[in-house]
Subunit: 204 residues, 2 copies
Amino acid sequence: MPQLKSTFLSREPLTSEEAKWKRLVKTNYIDPNGVKRDWESAERQTRPTDSPVDGVNIVAFLNKKNGSEILLEKQYRPPIDQVVIELPAGLIDAGETIEQTAVRELKEETGYIGVADKTTGIMYNDPGFCNANFNMVYVQVDMSLPENQNPKPDLEDNEFIECFTLPVSELSSQLQRLESEGYAIDARVGSIAEGIEIAKRLRL
Amino acid sequence: MPQLKSTFLSREPLTSEEAKWKRLVKTNYIDPNGVKRDWESAERQTRPTDSPVDGVNIVAFLNKKNGSEILLEKQYRPPIDQVVIELPAGLIDAGETIEQTAVRELKEETGYIGVADKTTGIMYNDPGFCNANFNMVYVQVDMSLPENQNPKPDLEDNEFIECFTLPVSELSSQLQRLESEGYAIDARVGSIAEGIEIAKRLRL
């Protein structure tokens, strides 16, 4: 199991001139009553100019004999100084389709080779705060294939990711357990788990 | 029906000195290999110093005779210049509990008076980009109560919100319809809808 936890040293204000990856912007608009207003928000600087989205979040199912398991990641996230339970995810490269990004990022981050079989519409992470957005892509990983017997991630030297799986039917209770052990929960994973619980309770 | 659409005028870079509501920060840390690194991210300036979260997202069910309906909002969001389909949500005020925030914000934004009956763990919207986070709070709205017969929102003068409901069982297909009509979809709502579809497909 790879070592995941980094050591937090300090957090300091960042000026706009120093920032290379993120930026603050001000949007000027006229509200429905005709009043001129402005609104502060944050953006990634990395979105390709021809892309309407920053990247993908990947819902990858491993089709094992004992039922469907969802592939998740543990990753240290400096903005919150915690190891987070997340969906595999990544930013789109210029010229890629959404599905190509999903298959490439899944292979790089987890080693698994899968097939994209459904892409959702665009979702916005926190549209009052930032323009960050993504498509959710479902990827089926066929565990009977030789290339998925011994998956080898191809991580960048600043990436420290551990993959693991959870049974889809227990996602909510397993996330609660992980939170109690000190992990942080990404909102996409957490909201999927809530959707599953809502469907169970209403017997949909 | 209230007018929701604002008119976008312009978007411009914002310097750290000018920003009142958001900020950029740099986190310095030592990675698991002992390498010193830094990471840029964004934060809200509004989180109370004694609170571990920015706010709440509210899953409100209207208990009507014909089945459960989830209460949603349409709101213009300047960071993306679109009207977004969102959960009712709000930022925590100093001294409030999470559940108090949820009940207060639901009443202010929608007029409905409800009872908080479940609070999830903390969820992080996009933990590689920002520290923005929330608890998801379930609120039951009893539609047989006199105070819920004619709900009157109490919006601030820069808030333009329209509430509406969708049948929980049709959430995913209805969000697709709304996206095709030009609305943007918030990731919390969209991910709950995906969780419901996953549960249905796996017959959980």
